[in-house]
């Protein structure tokens, strides 16, 4: 798991390794973080998930070794 921008600040994490249940989706991984960091729930609608450095649907199943992030709205430029 990687954390960026306001999500990084909110969770107080830049990066960590996690174990997920077999066949868990990105949505389910997010839910488990929302339990740990209740404020995260309010941001769900504004976040986009990524898996292995590519935007990914929340229904995507994660597998071992995947690099996952919940990306806040981008504001480069």
């Amino acid at each position: 798991m990687l954390f960026f921008g306001r999500i990084r600040e909110l969770c107080g994490l830049s990066e960590e390794s996690i174990q997920t249940a077999e066949g868990a989706t990105l949505e389910e991984v997010f839910s488990s973080y929302a339990l740990r960091f209740p404020k995260l729930s309010g941001f769900r609608a504004s976040l986009v998930a990524s898996c292995n450095q590519e935007f990914a649907a929340w229904t995507t199943k994660v597998t071992e070794g995947d690099e996952i992030a919940f990306l806040p709205p981008v504001s480069g430029g």
């Binding site: 995507t60 992030a69 806040p72």
Partner: protein, 155 residues
């Protein structure tokens, strides 16, 4: 025209962007037109005086997205070379955060491709900006990237 991709440049840098060097890289004698976009730190944001900005990125994904923008530019427009460089870290007022240069035989595609590059970068490249004011700091609102496909794609 898609042949020039190996001469294109996509970079994230911590130090000031050297626009003159990028211009030399992109400007080729077989062209006749070059358009550049220089995005730099404004003195004011939402009516408040900016102190400085901080940019952070998901670097490997950001670079991949920038290079995808370059590929799309060559597909969509009759252009020659492209450079897209974004700076990260702390930026003072007036400093360039993003510089884009596009060369082409004719001006129309150079303008269209340069505009496409910055518009797309602002929507799809994972970079985030925090604005620091005298009395606090906020993350810029930003834009939601387009909805991804509903299934995981091979990548």
């Amino acid at each position: 025209m898609a042949k020039a991709i190996e001469e294109d440049k996509f970079e994230l840098v911590q130090q000031p962007i050297d626009a003159a060097a990028l211009i030399r890289l992109v400007r080729a004698d077989l062209d006749g037109a070059m358009v550049t976009f220089d995005g730099f730190v404004r003195k004011e944001s939402h009516g408040r005086q900016t102190s400085y900005l901080e940019y952070e990125s998901y670097a490997p994904m950001a670079l991949q997205k920038m290079s995808e923008i370059g590929h799309l530019m060559h597909q969509k427009f009759a252009i020659d070379r492209v450079a897209i460089v974004h700076r990260l870290g702390r930026l003072e007022i007036g400093e360039t955060s993003v510089f884009i240069a596009v060369s082409a035989p004719h001006r129309g595609p150079a303008f269209d491709a340069c505009r496409f590059a910055i518009d797309t970068l602002k929507k799809t490249v994972p970079i985030w900006k925090k604005e620091y004011f005298a009395d606090g700091a906020v993350w810029a609102d930003g834009e939601l990237p387009p909805a991804p496909p509903s299934q995981k794609t091979a990548s």
